[in-house]
């Protein structure tokens, strides 16, 4: 249940060394879109591209392999990818849209397809929604303070940020590595993440993250009928190398553990909002 519905779970990585060179994990997201673009399954994809400020993501529409590759890697800050979901079908002119997003963005997408209040002619143009696992996200200022104040590193010298193995990792262009205990990161999390009840993007067509598989590999859940079809075609085209998920360490056990921890903690917080913030008053609960 905490892992959502899925047709299969596998360990995978891209077979394309160009993609793997700068991808966050197994290059699943970029490889999926690159394959789908090639195969005519999508006309392009909304990705979290690199803005003018270091590690500040900006939603962008990638319609070429180069643009997809330029967006590789995780930026641990908010990228409002849904803000382009209508525009991508208008001025960008895409009929078959790919989109990557955190679990909450996948929720926004599916709500938008079922309740398209302000999203005319969008619902049936979503061709491939790739979800990424997500424990929490940070306002940009939070990343700035974590890297520059806590990590004593200039953000513009950073080559990669990663959260894994219980630490926040800062890798610099010159080869230095700084690690922060996750404890210091918690206060910088965006508040909206604390009511989030999804860790592994249950509503994506295909979702992926690093947790569960060795470095350089990714855990992949193939979820919807559409995702199943595209995954099968991508495998047939040789886009991915795979291993059975139960053949790798630490495997789904760790994914399940983390998902359960996240949902339980946030569930508790949601309950506390109903009773502990005032007298005879409650904070609003979005879930009905």
């Amino acid at each position: 249940m905490v892992l959502g519905n899925y047709k299969q779970a596998v360990a995978a990585r891209s077979t394309d060394p160009d993609i793997l060179r700068k991808s966050q994990d197994g290059g699943i997201v970029t490889q999926l879109f690159a394959y789908a673009l090639d195969a005519g399954i999508i006309d392009g994809a909304i990705v979290a591209g690199q803005s003018d400020e270091p590690f500040k993501p900006e939603p962008m529409v990638a319609t070429t392999r180069e643009e997809l590759l330029a967006a590789r890697g995780t930026r641990y800050s908010i990228s409002p990818n849904m803000s382009l979901i209508k525009e991508v079908t208008r001025s960008y002119g895409l009929d078959k849209v790919g989109v990557v997003g955190t679990p909450c963005q996948m929720q926004a997408l599916r709500k938008g397809q079922l309740y398209p209040v302000g999203l005319r002619d969008v619902a049936d143009k979503i061709a491939l929604a790739v979800g990424i696992f997500c424990m929490e996200n940070f306002p940009y200022q939070g990343i700035l303070q974590l890297v520059e104040d806590h990590g004593a590193t200039a953000l513009e010298n950073v080559s990669k940020l990663d959260i894994g193995k219980g630490k926040f990792w800062i890798y610099t262009e010159r080869g230095a590595t700084v690690q922060l205990p996750l404890k210091v990161t918690h206060k910088y999390e965006q508040p909206g993440c604390h009511v989030c009840l999804d860790y592994v993007a249950n509503l994506a067509d295909i979702s992926t993250g690093s947790v569960g598989t060795p470095d350089g590999w990714s855990t992949v859940f193939v979820r919807s009928a559409k995702g199943d079809d595209i995954w099968a075609k991508a495998i047939a085209a040789g886009a991915f190398e795979t291993k059975p998920i139960d053949s790798v360490k630490p495997g789904l056990e760790l994914v399940t553990k983390l998902a359960t921890e996240k949902i339980t903690k946030n569930q508790k917080y949601l309950e506390s909002r109903a009773t502990e913030y005032g007298v005879g008053k409650a904070l609003r609960n979005p879930y009905i």
Partner: protein
């Protein structure tokens, strides 16, 4: 186990979700089961389709620009399917030659009500009396929208200056916000309203769950503004920066800055789309988890 139970309580426990059957639906069904089940849901009404089972629908035109009706018509052949299989259009000044508001199952009311126009006031009262379900179709009927800015003095009825959302005058059952509401949103509500009135128990439960948030909006009031995004989402610690609100805004009053919506309040026409689109205004796992099945069901229902 505890977490599963508490999740269930969260998902199904808080509200009585319109229908009665909600708590029986286990949260942990595998996807395939759900999909197949939902696919079968729509085949039944489709294959039976006795004409006598159609619902009666009327379009009541108050002070609106006809954009909502045009949007409904923009379902193209889908509109014909709806009129062919699910609904008889018993009243619609633009399309049907009927002068007085008849009895009907569903009234789709477009536009706000000018209280200086006694015919409009009479008609909205009559609509409430004659319709089982009153749907506020579009932002003017729900929230006043652009008509909120009227100050009178225009030709050729300068005395017409006060326009109220229909919910200020009558009880409204369902809101479809948006300026204009989208063809797909209107279509989805039509199919769900049909299932609610004519479906079997399971279909009624699904339709009830789907329509609940739109019924809740109708209960929540007649004022909307981009400010709702601030007061009801950001101020409540719920915004996670997805950007749906910005995408939904018809006048591009919302931009995303540093992961949060920034509302150009002078541009806002008070349509309510941003808040209704926001996944943190309302979100039903019970409904959205079944998105594949529901979308297939609606597609199948729209086959001619």
């Amino acid at each position: 186990m505890g977490i599963l139970e508490s999740l269930k309580a969260l998902l199904f426990g808080k509200h009585d979700v319109g229908g009665e059957k909600q708590d029986q639906k286990p949260a942990d069904k595998p996807a395939d089961v759900i999909v197949e089940k939902k696919a079968s849901i729509i085949k039944e009404p489709k294959e039976e389709k006795p004409v006598a089972d159609k619902i009666t629908v009327g379009h009541v035109h108050m002070s609106g620009c006809t954009g909502c009706l045009v949007s409904f018509a923009d379902n193209y052949e889908g509109l014909l399917t709806i009129l062919d299989k699910y609904a008889d259009l018993v009243y619609c000044l633009t399309l049907a030659d009927v002068r007085h508001i008849p009895e009907m199952d569903v009234a789709l009311v477009e536009g706000s009500v000018c209280i200086q126009d006694h015919i409009a006031v009479e008609e909205i009262i009559e609509t409430r009396k004659n319709a089982k379900i009153v749907v506020a179709l579009g932002a003017c009927a729900c929230y006043g929208n652009i008509t909120r800015f009227c100050r009178g003095g225009q030709q050729n009825q300068p005395q017409h200056e006060s326009y109220l959302p229909i919910g200020d005058l009558i009880d409204v059952d369902v809101y479809i916000p948006g300026c204009a509401p989208t063809p797909q949103q209107i279509r989805n509500v039509c199919v769900m309203a049909y299932l609610l009135l004519k479906g079997n128990d399971e279909q009624k439960a699904l339709a009830g769950a789907y329509l609940t948030p739109m019924m809740n909006l109708a209960k929540a009031g007649t004022e909307a503004c981009g400010c709702d995004i601030m007061t009801q989402v950001i101020n409540q610690g719920l915004c996670m920066g997805c950007g749906s609100c910005a995408a939904a805004c018809p006048v591009r009053a919302i931009t995303m800055q540093y992961g949060r919506p920034q509302i150009e309040r002078d541009l806002c026409i008070k349509c309510g789309a941003c808040y209704a689109q926001c996944p943190r205004s309302f979100f039903s796992f019970d409904v959205v988890n079944q998105y594949e099945g529901i979308m297939e069901a609606i597609d199948a229902a729209m086959q001619p």
